[in-house]
């Protein structure tokens, strides 16, 4: 059964009991919660996911709950427990989903040291992946969302998950977190896009989430080969500017933007080397989303592997 087909009472019972187990591709997460607002939010954003057996082995277990004691009643809060302990600051009671999403990001980033995790959006076309690494606020999520709404398959807006064995990218597919102006930009860009509730006044401003398309959810176990790395920067003063980035520089920028490159030591070096070797790398300054999406499509086509070139 998929999350969208489950009724509210069933979701509530799963969340309050054994947990709602979801498979994001590279990792499975078990979510528990006593927050009554959560089931409809999950149904809106995770509707396309099958409900897995909660007794099966999961990579991460999180529990979102209403705070105890004073914070239950006065300026109430929600807390997130990871494996029975609180590792993050609580959030205000009316922002359960942002805390859940942020907490899952944190848990996955700190626990999945069996992969190289780059801080990057990832989309794919014809099995060839585009990495969109960038610091927060540079428009990475907006651009990733736009590509996913224009024929690219979404793998993740947050993590490029690189396998050590072959340097292939695995999906860690979750809703795309859109912030502030980006929410309306994406809503106008693709009027059919499913965007969840807006949460004003989080520490990152207003946040809303774009639900991944059902066909992307269905394909989340298919890996993709790295082919193109684009460092995006939203810049209202330019139309569109594309500049090649030397591979050594791209390697360094990807490494410092990684969640676990240093911990992985030689495995991280080798895996990142494979990604950069297989990719052409560019810096992209853009102000118009449509033009940026077209440009990235063209760069991906140009970046065909040497063997396929004439």
């Amino acid at each position: 059964m998929r999350v969208a087909e489950a009724d509210r009472a069933f979701l509530h019972a799963q969340l309050a009991g054994p947990g709602l187990a979801l498979d994001f591709g590279a990792a499975r997460v078990r979510i528990r919660s006593d927050v009554p607002e959560l089931p409809p939010m999950l149904r809106a954003l995770y509707g396309g996911y099958a409900i897995e057996d909660p007794a099966g082995l999961c990579d991460v277990t999180v529990k979102l709950r209403r705070a105890r004691g004073l914070r239950r009643w006065v300026r109430p809060q929600v807390e997130l427990l990871i494996d029975g302990g609180i590792e993050l600051e609580p959030f205000p009671r009316d922002t359960p989903l942002p805390l859940l999403e942020w907490g899952m990001n944190y848990a996955l980033a700190t626990r999945l040291c069996c992969y190289l995790l780059l801080h990057s959006g990832v989309v794919e076309r014809h099995g060839r992946a585009v990495l969109l690494p960038a610091a927060p606020g540079s428009g990475k999520s907006t651009l990733t969302a736009a590509l996913a709404l224009r024929g690219f398959r979404l793998l993740s807006d947050e993590f490029a998950v690189v396998r050590f064995s072959d340097g292939q990218l695995q999906a860690l597919l979750r809703p795309v977190a859109l912030k502030n102006e980006s929410i309306d930009v994406i809503a106008r860009f693709a009027p059919g896009a499913v965007i969840g509730p807006r949460f004003p006044k989080t520490h990152k401003g207003t946040v809303a989430h774009l639900a991944p398309a059902a066909e992307h959810v269905a394909a989340r176990h298919a890996p993709a080969a790295p082919a193109l790395v684009v460092f995006p920067r939203f810049d209202p003063s330019v139309g569109l500017e594309i500049e090649p980035v030397p591979k050594a520089r791209a390697f360094a920028r990807l490494a410092v933007n990684s969640f676990n490159y240093e911990i992985l030591s030689p495995d991280g070096f080798d895996a990142l080397g494979r990604v950069v070797q297989a990719s052409t790398c560019y810096q992209l300054r853009y102000s118009d989303l449509e033009r940026a999406v077209d440009a990235i499509g063209a760069l991906l086509d140009e970046a065909a592997p040497a063997s396929a070139r004439h």
Binding site: R28, A55, G56, L57, C58, D59, T61, L81, D83, G84, G85, R111, L112, C113, C114, E262, I263, L264, S265, D267
Partner: protein, 370 residues
């Protein structure tokens, strides 16, 4: 039996059993793995578990998710081992004359000594013990080399220097681990008074390095003394695993280990912490011990009310929290009581009163909380 394994929660028994009999992990169910991985991670024992399972079974025979988290544990342990060695190599020139003893404590010692028990450990800091008279010069050299104190508050600095067995922890850009410079192993004004000169005199040079390690008996006693007297005494199962591993390592390598351990326990007046530590490791980790040694260690036994109370408390506080639950009221109460006991052992009453008053004043004064 005060410390029966059967009295422990299921997740703790599973973790202990997997550490002592890793070959049995080959037949664990998926739900059991789910609990085991999380319990091991929260006890900071995932790397040790991975090392022991790897020696007993192939990860390929395990469920995929379990295998990848064990790999993650091995990777983190490898990183921390590398960072420990890097730190020691970097600070060596700042440590003054090589004639001044440089005694590595705990994890850094196990790594540099090449003990197999170091495999999978996840050290968060490097503990180095040097004579108190040498510390001023070394501190200056380290500060010149870019090391900085984490705690810059004058009272904290004073507290460490006047009453602690170590300088405040130091950090340096480019170093992943903290450096703790000790001049002895326990707070000098506390109730337990090990023989510091004896620690240095018996330290064993580590061949091929400028460092030495405590002698085997002192290594065990150091770990035992900290097991139940550190202020954060919850979730310290890994310290117990260290004690078990140390005893197994040294007893196998050295036939005079047991008599020497008893002699060192008398010398340092650490018989009672040793009794508690070995009672726990024997009950939970089946640490082997000759009968005649057990009989002599029984002489260190505390009176039964103290014994019964402490055993009841540590059964609640030492194991990691249930990954599917959270500490109950009794667990939290047990932690508070053990913390109070730890403070009582570490500080004389006048210092405790002075310290508490200072803390309260600093928390209360306008803008003063740090």
């Amino acid at each position: 039996m005060l410390l029966a394994l059967s009295a422990l929660p299921a997740h703790v028994r599973l973790l202990l059993q997997s550490l002592t009999e890793p070959q049995r992990c080959a037949s664990l169910s998926e739900p059991a793995w789910d609990v085991l991985i999380r319990a091991a991670r929260s006890a900071r024992l995932l790397g040790v578990l991975a090392a022991r399972v790897a020696a007993a079974v192939s990860f390929d025979a395990l469920p995929e998710v379990a295998g990848r988290h064990l790999v993650a544990g091995q990777i983190e342990a490898r990183f921390r081992r590398q960072k420990t060695l890097f730190l020691l190599e970097t600070v060596a020139p700042q440590l003054g004359s090589p004639e001044t003893p440089r005694v590595l404590l705990k994890g850094a010692a196990y790594i540099v000594q090449g003990l197999s028990m170091a495999e999978g450990r996840l050290p968060a800091d490097v503990d180095l013990m040097m004579p108190r008279v040498a510390l001023d010069g070394i501190e200056r050299a380290l500060l010149d080399a870019g090391w900085q104190f984490e705690k810059t508050d004058p009272y904290d600095q004073h507290y460490y220097r006047a009453w602690s067995h170590e300088l405040p922890p130091m950090r340096c850009a480019g170093q992943a681990l903290e450096l703790d410079l000790h001049h002895t192993i326990l707070p000098p004004l506390g109730r337990l008074k090990p023989d510091t000169d004896g620690l240095f005199a018996a330290a064993v040079p580590i061949v091929g390095t400028s460092f030495s390690a405590l002698c085997p008996g002192d290594q065990v006693l150091h770990a035992a003394a900290h097991l139940l007297q550190d202020s954060d005494c919850t979730g310290r199962l890994r310290d117990l695993v260290d004690i078990d591993s140390l005893v197994r390592t040294h007893a196998t390598a050295n036939p005079s280990f047991w008599p020497a351990l008893l002699e060192r326990a008398h010398l340092h007046h650490l018989g009672r912490p040793l009794w508690y530590a070995l009672a726990l490791t024997r009950a939970w980790l089946a640490t082997p011990m000759p009968e005649e040694v057990a009989a002599r260690i029984a002489g260190f036994s505390p009176p039964w009310p103290a014994r019964a109370t402490l055993c009841a408390l540590v059964t609640r506080t030492l194991p990691p929290v249930n990954p599917d639950g959270e500490p109950g009221l009794w667990d939290r109460l047990a932690s508070r009581l053990l913390e109070a006991r730890a403070v009582w052992l570490r500080l004389p009453p006048w210092l405790l009163a002075w310290h508490a008053a200072n803390k309260a004043w600093r928390a209360w004064r306008p803008g003063g909380a740090s």
